[in-house]
C-alpha cells in the first residue's frame, strides 16, 4: 500500500492502462473523442479519489473502470442518445465525429485529399480501356466496360476504407487478391446465358486459343507423319497428348457455351471445326499408341484409364465434328452442339469416377 506514492514505475503502468481503456472506448462508433476525453477525466478523478483513500493504482484503476460501467451498456446508452452519429459514420466515416478538436480537423483534410486522389485515380482508370480502343458504350449489355465498371470503382473505394480503417497487410493482400480473382472470373466466364445473349469479350479467349491449339495439334500430326514414329511414342508424350486433348475438350465446351447460339456460322466455327478435326486425328494417334503399348506390355491401370479417356474423347470429338459440320452447313441448330458438350461433361466425370473408385478394386491397388 505505502509504495504507491513512491513507485513511479506504477504511474507509467497506470498511464498504459488508461491508454488501453481509452483506445477500447474509441472503437465504438458513437463515442467521440470528446466523449472519451470527458469519460477519461472522470476515470482519472475517480482513480485519484480512490488513491487518496489508500488504494494502489492498479486497484483504483480496476474499481474506477468497474464503476464506469460495462462497455457494452455504455456504448449502447451512447448509441441510443446519439443515434444520428451512426448515420454520419456511414456517410463520412472516421473521425468526423471528433467535431472541433484540432487534430481531427487535420485528419479530416488528410482524408479529403486521399479520397480526392483515389477519386481521380478511379477516373483515370476508367479511361484506360479507351486507350486500347475499347469504347465505353460500344457493347451494350455484355460489353467489356459494363461488366468491368465495378472493377474501376470498387477497388478505389475499398482502398480508401482499407487506408482509413487500418487494415493489416494480410487483409490488404487478401483484398487485392479478391479483386484480381473476381475480375478474372467475370471476364473469363461465358455470359452467353445472360438475357442479352452477347458474350462480348469472353469470346476473345477462344478466338485466340482455338486457332492456337489447332496449329499446335497440326504441328504434332505433321511431326508424327514425317518421322513416322507414331507408334513408339514415349510415355511422357502420351500423357502430354491426353492432357492436350482434355484441354481441347474444355476449350470446345467453353466456346460452345460462350457462343451466341442464334448467330449464323462464321469463320470461328470453321476454326473450331478444324480444331475438332485435328484433335480427332491426335486422339486416334494416341489410341493407336496406347493400344500398341497394351498389346506389347500388357494392361496397367494407367493404360486402361488412358484408353478409356481417349475412347470417350474420340466419341465426343467425333460427335462434335459431325454436329459442327452440320451446323456450318445450316442443318443442325447450335444448341444441339451445346447439349452434346454438356452431356459429355457427365460422361467424362463418370469415367473419372470409375477410374478413381473401381480401378483400385479391379487392379488390387497396384
Amino acid at each position: 500500500m505505502d509504495k504507491k506514492r513512491t513507485g513511479n514505475p506504477t504511474v507509467g503502468q497506470l498511464e498504459k492502462q488508461i491508454e488501453a481503456w481509452r483506445a477500447h472506448l474509441r472503437k465504438s462508433q458513437t463515442i467521440t473523442s470528446q466523449d472519451a476525453a470527458e469519460l477519461e477525466d472522470h476515470l482519472r478523478e475517480q482513480i485519484a479519489a480512490l488513491g487518496a483513500d489508500g488504494l494502489s493504482d492498479d486497484e483504483a484503476f480496476l474499481v474506477a473502470v468497474k464503476r464506469m460501467g460495462a462497455f457494452d451498456a455504455l456504448t449502447r446508452e451512447f448509441s441510443r442518445e446519439h443515434s444520428d452519429r451512426l448515420w454520419k459514420q456511414l456517410v463520412l466515416s472516421g473521425d468526423d465525429r471528433d467535431g472541433g478538436t484540432e487534430s481531427a480537423a487535420a485528419g479530416w483534410s488528410r482524408r479529403m485529399w486521399v479520397a480526392l486522389g483515389l477519386a481521380i485515380a478511379a477516373a483515370v482508370a476508367i479511361k484506360i480501356p479507351a486507350l486500347f480502343g475499347i469504347a465505353f458504350d460500344a457493347e451494350p449489355g455484355g460489353g467489356f466496360c459494363p461488366r468491368n465498371i465495378s472493377f474501376f470503382a470498387f477497388p478505389f473505394i475499398a482502398a480508401y476504407f482499407a487506408w482509413d480503417r487500418p487494415l493489416p497487410l494480410r487483409g490488404r493482400l487478401a483484398l487485392a487478391a479478391v479483386f484480381a480473382v473476381a475480375a478474372t472470373v467475370v471476364n473469363a466466364f461465358p455470359f452467353a446465358f445472360s438475357p442479352k445473349g452477347e458474350p462480348g469479350h469472353t469470346f476473345v479467349l477462344t478466338r485466340i486459343f482455338a486457332p492456337l491449339f489447332a496449329l499446335l495439334l497440326i504441328a504434332f500430326i505433321v511431326t508424327m507423319a514425317t518421322t513416322g514414329r507414331a507408334i513408339d511414342v514415349k510415355r511422357e508424350v502420351l500423357i502430354l497428348f491426353d492432357l492436350l486433348l482434355a484441354v481441347v475438350f474444355g476449350l470446345l465446351l467453353y466456346s460452345a457455351s460462350a457462343r451466341d447460339a442464334i448467330a449464323r456460322p462464321g469463320l470461328m466455327d470453321w476454326i473450331q471445326l478444324t480444331l475438332v478435326g485435328t484433335a480427332l486425328a491426335v486422339d486416334v494417334l494416341a489410341l493407336w499408341a496406347i493400344g500398341s503399348r497394351i498389346f506389347e506390355f500388357g494392361f496397367t491401370p494407367n493404360r486402361v484409364a488412358a484408353l478409356g479417356e481417349n475412347i470417350a474423347l474420340l466419341v465426343n470429338l467425333g460427335g462434335s465434328a459431325v454436329l459442327y459440320a452440320g451446323f456450318i452447313r445450316g442443318r443442325v441448330a447450335f444448341s444441339r452442339l451445346c447439349d452434346w458438350q454438356k452431356f459429355y461433361l457427365y460422361v467424362l466425370a463418370a469415367w473419372a469416377a470409375v477410374v478413381a473408385l473401381l480401378f483400385p478394386l479391379v487392379f488390387g491397388f497396384a
Binding site: 470528446q34 466523449d35 476525453a37 470527458e38 469519460l39 477525466d41 472522470h42 482519472r44 478523478e45 475517480q46 485519484a48 464503476r67 464506469m68 460501467g69 451498456a73 455504455l74 446508452e77 451512447f78 441510443r80 442518445e81 446519439h82
Partner: protein
C-alpha cells in the same frame, strides 16, 4: 437499500438540473453530489450519467464548455440554462405532486407500515 433502476432513470433529469441550479459543475462532481444527497441509495453507474447530460444539453436545458481544471486537465463543465430552470420548476412540481400523493396514502396506512404482515380482506380466500 437501493432505488430501482426505473426510478433512478426517472429522477435523473430533476436531480441533474437541481444540482446544476446550485452552480456549474462537471460529471464526476455531479455524481459525487448525488451520492452525498442520497446517502448512497441512488447508485448510478458512472458512465450512464454522461448520456443523460448529453441529452439535456441537446434539448437546450443545459450548456457545456471545455475549460482547464485545477488539475491541469481539460474538463467539460455544464451550466443550467433558462429553459433548464423552467424545466426544473416543472419537474419539481411533478415530483412534489407524486410525493404528496404517496405521502397521503402512507399516512393512511401508517398503522400497517410497521407490521410485517398486513391482512387484506378482499384478497382472502373464499
Amino acid at each position: 437499500m437501493s432505488i430501482n433502476k426505473d426510478l433512478v432513470t426517472a429522477s435523473s433529469t430533476a436531480l441533474v438540473l437541481a444540482i446544476l441550479a446550485e452552480g456549474d459543475s462537471y460529471g464526476y462532481a455531479i455524481l459525487k453530489r448525488v451520492r452525498g444527497l442520497s446517502g448512497g441509495a441512488l447508485e448510478w453507474t458512472d458512465g450512464m450519467l454522461y448520456p443523460v447530460l448529453h441529452r439535456l444539453e441537446r434539448s437546450g436545458l443545459i450548456q457545456s464548455r471545455w475549460a482547464k481544471a485545477e488539475s491541469g486537465r481539460r474538463r467539460k463543465y455544464y451550466r443550467i440554462t433558462g429553459a433548464g430552470r423552467d424545466q426544473l420548476a416543472d419537474e419539481r412540481r411533478q415530483w412534489q405532486t407524486v410525493d404528496k400523493t404517496l405521502g397521503k396514502i402512507w399516512s393512511a396506512t401508517a398503522d400497517c407500515a410497521n407490521t410485517s404482515v398486513t391482512p387484506v380482506p378482499l384478497l382472502q380466500r373464499s
